[in-house]
Structure formats: C-alpha cells, structure tokens
Symmetry: C2
C-alpha cells in the first residue's frame, strides 16, 4: 500500500500559481505510485517579507502575538491554492492550517516551540484517500492563539509531522538538489552526498551550509525521521539525512563548509582573574547576542586577550556592550574585524581517525593562510582565517581530503 | 461604565497602514469615553479581489472549501495590524479570527449562514479591559473548517456579534455618511435621514441603495440590533436603523431609490393556461437566476405577455433559458431590454396613508415618463421606466413628496 510520505515545499517552489501547479503535479506523481501524501508548504515567494513590511509600517514595536496573526496568513493562502490545484488534477485533497491539525506550541510568539501534535484530522483525511496539505511555520497555543515557529519553521513543520505520523520519510524540496562536499559555487568538483548523518548535518547547518536549519535536523535526529533533501526542479534523488551507520565512519571527512557572515571581536589585555568571562559574555547574553567560537589565551604578563566570533549584524551592538565592560574590568580596549571567514571540515569518521586537525593546519599553511582561531568538536574542526582566503582554503582542503572522489562502496 | 459598542470598518477604511492607524485613533476615541469596544474589520482595500485572482489563476472551478481557506486570510491580516496599531497608542487590544470567537456557520462554503456564536473569548478579553478586534466575513463549521459569509459578510459579522453580545449599538463605518432621502449625486437637495426603520432599510437595500446589504438588515431586525450607519472620514452622526416607532408613520415617504443594474425580459404571447409561469420561472431558478419584479397581463385573445426584471449580468443566460421555454410552450418569442431603470419610493407611513401610488403616477406622467412596470409592497411603490429618465424621475418624486424639507418634530 505504498509509503506514508511527508513532502515540504519552500516559498520559492510555490512563488506563483504556475509553480503551485507544478508542485501539484509533482505531488500527484508520488500519489500515483500508491503513496499516502502529506504536503507542507511555505508562504508564496516573498509574501512573508511583504507582511513584515506591513507590520513595520504600522508600528516599530509590534505585539508578537499580533505579528503571528498577520504572518500566519501567508501559508494559509498557499495551502488553499495547492489543494485546489491537486483537485483540478483529479486528486482528492484537503488543506489544513497549523491550528487545525493540532500543532500545539508554547506561547513564545514569532519563535514558538512545538509541544505536541494531535494530527487527528490528518489521519481522518488520509483514511478518506485524500492528499493532505498543511500550512508550515504555524501552530497554536493550548488556548488557541496562532503562533509561528520562526526561521526555518516550515522545515520543522514537515519533520515534526513526519515524526508524529511515523512517516517513512520527510522530503524537503528546495532550490538546491542536496548536500554537497562543499559549496559547488566555490569548488566546481564538489560532489553531492548520497547520505549524511544527523550529527554531520547539524554541524554543517550550524557552520553555514544553508540547506536545512539546525533546529529541524535536531528534531529529525530526536525522532529518527529520515530527511531527504532534494530539488524542486529536478527529479534526481538528493541527500538522505539519516542515522549514522558503520559505513559512514570509513569516510574521515564528509564535507567542508564556510561561513562569511561572521565578525570577530577581541577584548585586549584583560586582567586574568576569575569571573571576567562571565562579565563579558553575560553582558552580551543580556542583549540576546549569540556568540559562536570563543578563544582565550593566558599571556605571560598575567593578562589575556579574549576573542570570539558572532553574526556580523550583531557586531556594532556587541562593540557597544564590550566597550563598557572593558572599562569596568580594566582591559585595554576592544578590537573588531569584519573581514574574517570560518572554514570547517565535518565528518563522523573523525571520531575514530587521528591526525585530521594536523592535516587541516598543514594544508592551510602550505597556502600561506594564517589561522586566527581554532575550535574543534568531536566531528568537526573549524578555523577562522582572513576573509580573502576563504575560497582558496575551501578548495585546498577539498583537495587535500580528496572529497571530489567517490568513496569506495 | 459606558456602552458596549460594536464598530465595523470596511475595506476602503483599512486600505493601507495609514488608514488602519486612523481607524485605530477613531476606535481609541470611543474607548476613551469609557465604552467597551468590539471592532470588526474587512480585508484591506482590494485584497479579496487579489486573492480571487490567485484562485482563478490556479483553477477555473475551485473547491469552495479551499476558496474560503484562501479568502479568509484577508481579514486576518487586518485584525493583527489594527490590534497592534491600537496597542501602539497605549490601548490594550487583542485580535481574533472568526473561528476563534466561535462564529459557527453551516457548511455552505463561500456563502455560509451563521448558526450561533459562542463569543467566550470576546467576553474574556473585554473583561480584561481589552479592545477586541474580530475578523469579519469569516466563520467555521462545527467540525472546524473555515467558511466565509459571502457578499456583505463583514457587516453581517458586526450585526451578529452585536446581537450575540447584546451590544448597545452596531456602528457600520463606510464611505458614505448615512442613508439619504435619495442619492445625493442625483438629487443635490437630498437630506440625510436621522432614523429609518428596519423595514424601510430592507426595501431600500433591496431596491438599490448600497449602504447596507439586506442580509445584515434582516439579522439586525430579527435581533433588534440598532445599527448606526456613519462615515469613516467624518465625525458627524449618520443614520440610525432601528425599530419602527409612531413618529415614523407621520412621514409618508422616507426615501427614493433607483436601480440601474437591471434588465427587463418579456416572453411574448404566452398561451394563457395553468402551469406556464412555473415552467418559465422554474427554468430560471434551476440556473440560479434570481428575478425581481414580475408582471403578467392577460390579453384579450387568451394569450398574455410575461415580463420580469433581473440583474443585468444574468440577462444573457436568462435569454438562452427562455428561448427554449418559449419554444416549448408555443410563445411568440423573447424580448430583452437593458435600457431600463427601477425607481422606488419607500416609507412605513404608506401603510396608513392612501393615494401615494396615485401621486407617484401623476408625478411621472407630468414629466411625460412612461411607466413600463409597476409593483407595490406594503411600504414601497416601484416603477420600471426607460433608463434615460431615471434622474429626472428621482428628482421629480423627491420634489413632489417634499423630501428635501426637514419633517416637523
């Protein structure tokens, strides 16, 4: 009787009526193979931006509850249009909003977290032989207020529904056709990966690969939902994000990511005494500034430099906070650098292979690229370098780890 | 502790963020007087038309359930924006969709009828000191599907909420500032009426005055909701639509309406035998064509002409139906005339005054205007005349019944 498949189509895939009709054809094809289909969609094209602009024109400090009321309409338009497009192709279909399928969240408007999903109406509609079309990005509180899930929310809806329905797979249709060993715009010989583990995908998402948001991958990992990232515009299979298996460990490095959206801040000659780091990062946390890599080295004179990276857009706010902190703790001052890039190699195989970091450093050294900061995790090594070397570093590492070659089966 | 007031603002009153802010100021003024406020709004400007165009671009024969899913988003955008505009003025406010306030309808999508309203969340929000903003035009079925109420649906939402909440008044804000003795564009000396009865308003709505849809007036009459029709853009009081009282009967004629949107069809020389009218109008009803005035005269030769009026947009479909019927019953054929106008005088005082119809006929006769069809009700007399005389007829009647003069108190 076929599989139960959840498909998710993003805003660019449903940007206009013609694209909605071609999504409908794609869904109908899967249904024709005997699969039961649940389709999650985003708002059409730039609709959400247009709604945000309306909100901005009304007030600079809107109530998040009311923002959600406005934003949730974008997806609601798409579901109605897609359901009628499917029906026009002779496929019984039925649309539901997030609240209608019992997507219950907490009450943190504009970035709500999913609590549970009842999905009763989905089961009933599937049992009635219908293709079910669900609005991504939205849910409701226990008391029935409309909420939205924040950035990447529609992916999360797809994964969460797949988990709740125990679907065989969650297919995420997007404008790239899978996860690559590196950004193909930078490395022409980059290779599409057939499979990556949840942990690798998590590192890659956090490290700058924009295919899937980390939040959705975490959710998929937690509930062991196989996620198939694939292209809306091509029929080929994409990349399956799935549980780690033994064969994955044979490959030391799976992929290379780079992130050019960060800035580096340093507090210079900080007195080396307990509680300093807490003062520095506590002040940033209060301003909701999320820092990424942190490096601290104790100098010989009992003072130290603390450096960290953060999203470039937060740099100015952070500098203001830090200037005050630097004064308070008697540091020499604050230095900022926007012209940095973070390059990372990722692979679950690193757990059982030594010498990976050393090979990264020697590769960069051969190209005369100076490493400003280093951080490592169990399955990743990241280096901050001068921005102008970003592409060179990615290409050199891709080459050094032979990622362009298909691994032995 | 002030009154409980329901206000309704139409699409042109909330067409852009600036207009929404000025509606918010208007609402805030009423709240500042100590009134408890429930505000019903339509979709912004031409939003509903744009949504209909999207639907049309997807399929020519959409599922009405999915059409409602799409259309209901228009009002949902407005409520969020208005609620945040009110909050920005320091007024606690909260928005609700039709489903959220328990606006339960039947399942006839795109023209659902209201069954009952729970309004629990409205009471709770009012008790919490909030201005409540509700999406007009929409509701839900018992099983939670989104429905819309059809044309004039937002007025109906306002009136129905006022009835359910036992509000002191339902204020309908619109781009005209009240109900006039005649269209001021036609009769410069037309006078704004301070009060009209539900029945008069019903006749006027049905007869072409576009201020309020007949459906909303019927609902207001049934539940004795006082409806105040007034201008969004001017502070002056408008017209109160209310229960008939004795003073109203002293005025014989309240107003004059005209409708230029109709056409006249005649079936010529119909054999005069039982069942003919049923054949003619049964055929039209099957095509969902609503006819208005019907006139039949038995001629001397045992045959008769049947004439009726209908919305001009339905004329061609009706002609096709009638051509077949005419053949079947042995009539001579069908004649159509688009160049007609219907002019009517309305007033509850007619019930107790004789000679009104006679004065209408003599007034038109003096102007050499030929009357093609006549129909009368308890409180109205309508005449179909050649279209080119429409303005002349309205002015002559307005003058003959001295409607420009303020009635004696």
């Amino acid at each position: 009787m076929g599989q139960l498949i959840v498909q998710k189509y993003g805003g660019s895939s449903v940007a206009d009526p013609e694209k909605i009709k071609s999504v409908a054809r794609r869904v109908a094809e899967s249904a024709a193979k005997g699969h039961r289909m649940v389709v999650v969609v985003s708002a059409m094209g730039k609709t959400t931006d247009a709604l945000v602009a309306l909100v901005d024109a009304v007030t600079p400090a809107p109530d998040p509850r009311e923002v959600d009321m406005v934003l949730a309409t974008g997806e609601q338009v798409t579901i109605g249009l897609l359901a009628m497009a499917l029906q026009a192709m002779g496929r019984p279909a039925c649309s539901f909003t997030g609240p209608q399928v019992g997507m219950v969240t907490d009450g943190v408007h504009t970035r709500a977290r999913i609590r549970h999903i009842t999905a009763e109406r989905i089961h009933a509609a599937l049992d009635a032989g219908k293709i079910v079309v669900v609005a991504g990005f939205q849910g409701m509180t226990e008391s029935g207020d409309v909420t939205t899930l924040g950035r990447g929310g529609s992916d999360l809806t797809g994964v969460a529904l797949a988990a709740a329905l125990k679907a065989d797979v969650c297919e995420i249709f997007t404008d790239v056709d899978g996860v690559y060993t590196a950004d193909p715009n930078v490395v022409p010989e980059a290779r599409k990966l057939a499979r990556v583990s949840y942990d690798e995908m998590l590192e890659m998402a956090a490290l700058g690969a924009k295919v899937l948001q980390a939040r959705s991958v975490e959710f998929a990992k937690k509930f062991a939902v196989p996620v198939h990232v694939r292209s809306t515009f091509k029929p080929d299979p994409g990349t399956l994000v799935t549980r780690e298996d033994h064969s994955m460990e044979d490959v030391v490095v799976t992929g290379i990511t780079h992130d050019r959206g960060q800035a580096k801040l340093s507090i210079l000659r900080v007195p080396d005494r307990p509680g300093i780091a807490s003062l520095v990062f506590g002040g940033l946390a209060k301003q909701n500034i999320v820092v990424d890599m942190i490096v601290q080295n104790i100098g010989r004179d009992g003072s130290t430099d603390i450096s960290f990276t953060l999203p470039r857009g937060d740099r100015q706010r952070a500098e203001t906070v830090l200037a005050a902190v630097a004064k308070e703790i008697g540091a020499d001052g604050v230095a900022a650098d926007d012209r940095i890039a973070k390059v990372s190699i990722v692979g679950v195989g690193m757990r059982s292979h030594s010498g990976v970091a050393a090979r990264v450093f020697s590769t960069l050294s051969k190209e005369n690229i100076n490493i400003q900061m280093i951080s490592t995790s169990e399955i990743a090594v990241s280096c901050v370098i001068e921005d102008k070397y970003a592409e060179l570093a990615v290409r050199a590492l891709h080459d050094a780890f032979e990622l362009g070659k298909e691994p032995a089966a």
